[in-house]
Amino acid sequence: MTPATVEREVRHAVPVAQAPAPVIRGAGILTGWGEGLAAPDAAGPEGARGLVAVPTPAFAGERFRRATRECLLGVAAVRAAARDAGLDTAALAGPRTGVLYASATAYASANRAFLEDEGSTTLHFPYTAPSAVPAEVTIEYGIRGPYVNLMGGGPTALQGLWVAARWLADGVADRVLVLAVEAVHEVWDLFTRARRLYAGPLIESAACLLVEPGGGEPLAWASAAASGREASGSVAAVLEAVLRDRRPRTLAGCVPGRGPGRFEAAALAARGVAATRVGVGDLGEAFASGPLIGLARARASGLEGPCLATAAWRQDYAAMLWPL
């Protein structure tokens, strides 16, 4: 597909949503390569594996005795984000902190365990709910503010960032934890049957961005769902809507170079965008964590100017222009 072809296929006027851009005060990133933003850089040949599993964080005390691995990952990512922001986690308590949680996979292992073990007890069932992960986060840190959970891959994380920006703009929260957890180790055999959902190895991860009111240029977000022959036009139209006259300096895209990623590369080339790539999309599939890891890496890279984050899941393609 050539850039000219992409240009011709922009048929829809995709609406773009704008909101005052928050600032990222802190980021907590745990992946199969370790904790922190630099860890994926050391991926090397490990990236070729089918699954990059993340170790289970250790927590002392009795309270987490029942919690699942994905819950502990969420709690650890929030703790890391607060630390990165220079905040005591006690500052998160109360009604002025919001939680926006996104995930495509983090309930699957608990669901499978309960389905396959008829002897399961009261210890197990509550943790089959996707809301168990953000529940443990809010309980651990005493959070009682705005709260929404979205299920799906990368586009849901971008949607979540937009919801967080709205909460901050509306004044219903002073800060929002945008959290994604993806845990697939226990259901990896199932995901190997659905390879068309993703490209590259699966990256287990927990990613949290602690965002607060900004005041700079607005962020722009758009998405469109399309499949088959419509997909290339959909990708191009979304990028057209988000970019307008601005060219990003950084690409936090998590869309790998096949499927929508192929159309994305052509659409960006058609607009003369050649920015520094910092996302993990080239390394594998991190689902909802992908855009959050990409934005955190863009922030840490020291590059100035707008950052383009992109994501794809099922037939959904989404892009967000974030003013760093």
Binding site: A135, Y147, R193, A224
Partner: protein
């Protein structure tokens, strides 16, 4: 400043007491109970095998009736997707979109669910149904099945705030419309009964062997239910612009909050729910005295009903005693992700018909739940503004403020 109201121009339901809006409303008003012995999966080994099960839906759906007929796909195997599709067909027709939406790129689909496609997960684990079953078993499977059938090309979102999901989804959809991200939103909630969830609540000992008795002194737990509620939402000016008559109602405000208290039980002080109600009223630009009806979550559990009553008294003050506060969980069972949407639709129908459905199985007063719960008999009352409250596992709370047209 109040947020822009969002019009609800169509609605559709699948419920244990009726598979369309008219049957649903008639059942609510006449006090029909949809609770029965579960027939669709084995329950003989479970402590409680009763629930609000939807019977015989298959006879009516899947024949290519209604606005989704042009889809041409075979009906989805997933029961949640079939429920959603059936409810969506009714909602589209009543909103005047029987021929489909004019521009699919401007259509958002936002569905709340506590269980997603879990009913398909067993098949997928046994290796049946291939990738289709696997994709369907994910939490966003039913939402995507509906989006595909509609050809919707705008934002497609799945909300899972447990049993508050069907309220949060309407709130998220309203935000998308206000931000101009879509011109129309199909929003709602769905969940189905399956052995997974029936066994889960059995092991938690949350299910009662008695009847569901919201706010009654003898209340001893919930019974589950299944269903779907779907509404068509749009900005009021857009609805007027296409010549649509009076909408079913308006969504004036919403909020979703966390408890931060317990993995299953509500905060004993109800602080999260209180914040949700106050924020929803604030977004609506209304004070407590404006509320004419409360559709309570009212599950019939000893703790939750008492917490909810306390919160309503704190927020509404003496006005809480002057208005009806009903629960329709005894009609339907707890339909989980569908519950809040079905209750929101009930509020709007109450405003349209000038009647409030009763709280069934009420017999003995509880001093801790001393509000007017409309015991056992429907009441003539035309609520203009309704407040609907929801709570869910993991400390999820949600509140909707709705107005009759």
């Amino acid at each position: 400043m109040a947020a822009e109201p969002i019009a609800i121009t169509g609605a559709g339901v699948v419920s244990p007491i009726g598979h369309d809006l008219d049957a649903f409303w008639a059942g609510l008003i006449t006090g029909v109970s949809g609770i029965s012995q579960i027939e669709r999966f084995p329950v003989a080994d479970l402590r409680v095998g009763r629930a609000g099960e939807v019977k015989k839906l298959a006879a009516r759906e899947g024949r290519g009736l209604g606005p989704l007929a042009r889809d041409g796909r075979r009906p989805p195997a997933c029961r949640a997707s079939r429920f959603l599709r059936r409810a969506a067909e009714e909602a589209l027709t009543s909103a005047g979109f029987a021929g489909g939406f004019p521009d699919p790129a401007r259509v958002a689909v936002v569905i709340g669910t506590a269980l997603g496609g879990i009913d398909d997960a067993g098949r997928a684990l046994r290796g049946h149904g291939g990738v289709r079953a696997l994709l369907g078993s994910l939490y966003d499977g039913p939402t995507w099945n509906l989006a595909h059938a509609l050809g919707a090309a705008g934002p497609v979102l799945t909300v899972s705030t447990a049993c508050a999901s069907g309220a949060t989804s309407l709130g998220v959809a309203a935000d998308l419309l206000r931000a101009g991200r879509a011109d129309w939103a199909l929003a709602g909630g769905v969940d189905v009964l399956c052995r997974f969830v029936q066994r889960g609540f059995n092991v938690l000992r949350s299910l009662t062997r008695d009847e569901v008795r919201p706010f009654d002194r003898r209340r001893s737990g919930i019974l589950l239910g299944e269903g779907a509620g779907v509404v068509v939402m749009e900005r009021p000016a857009a609805a007027r612009g296409r010549g649509h008559g009076a909408p079913l109602g308006l969504l004036l405000g919403h909020a979703s909050t966390a408890d931060g208290a317990h993995i299953t039980a509500p905060d004993p002080e109800g602080r999260g729910l209180e914040l949700a109600v106050r924020q929803a009223l604030s977004e609506a630009g209304l004070g407590p005295e404006a509320v004419d009806l409360v559709s309570a979550h009212g599950t019939g559990t000893p703790v939750s009903d008492r917490v909810e009553t306390d919160v309503l008294k704190r927020v509404l003050g003496r006005h809480a005693y002057a208005i009806p506060v009903n629960s329709i969980k005894a009609h339907l069972g707890h339909t989980m992700g569908a519950a809040a949407t079905l209750e929101a639709i009930m509020c709007l129908l109450a405003g349209r018909h000038g009647q409030v459905p009763p709280t069934l199985n009420y017999g003995e007063a509880d001093p801790g739940c001393d509000l007017d719960c409309v015991p056992n008999q429907a009441r003539r009352h035309r609520p203009r503004v309704s407040l609907s409250t929801s709570l869910g596992f993991g400390g999820c709370n949600a509140a909707l403020v709705l107005a009759a047209a």
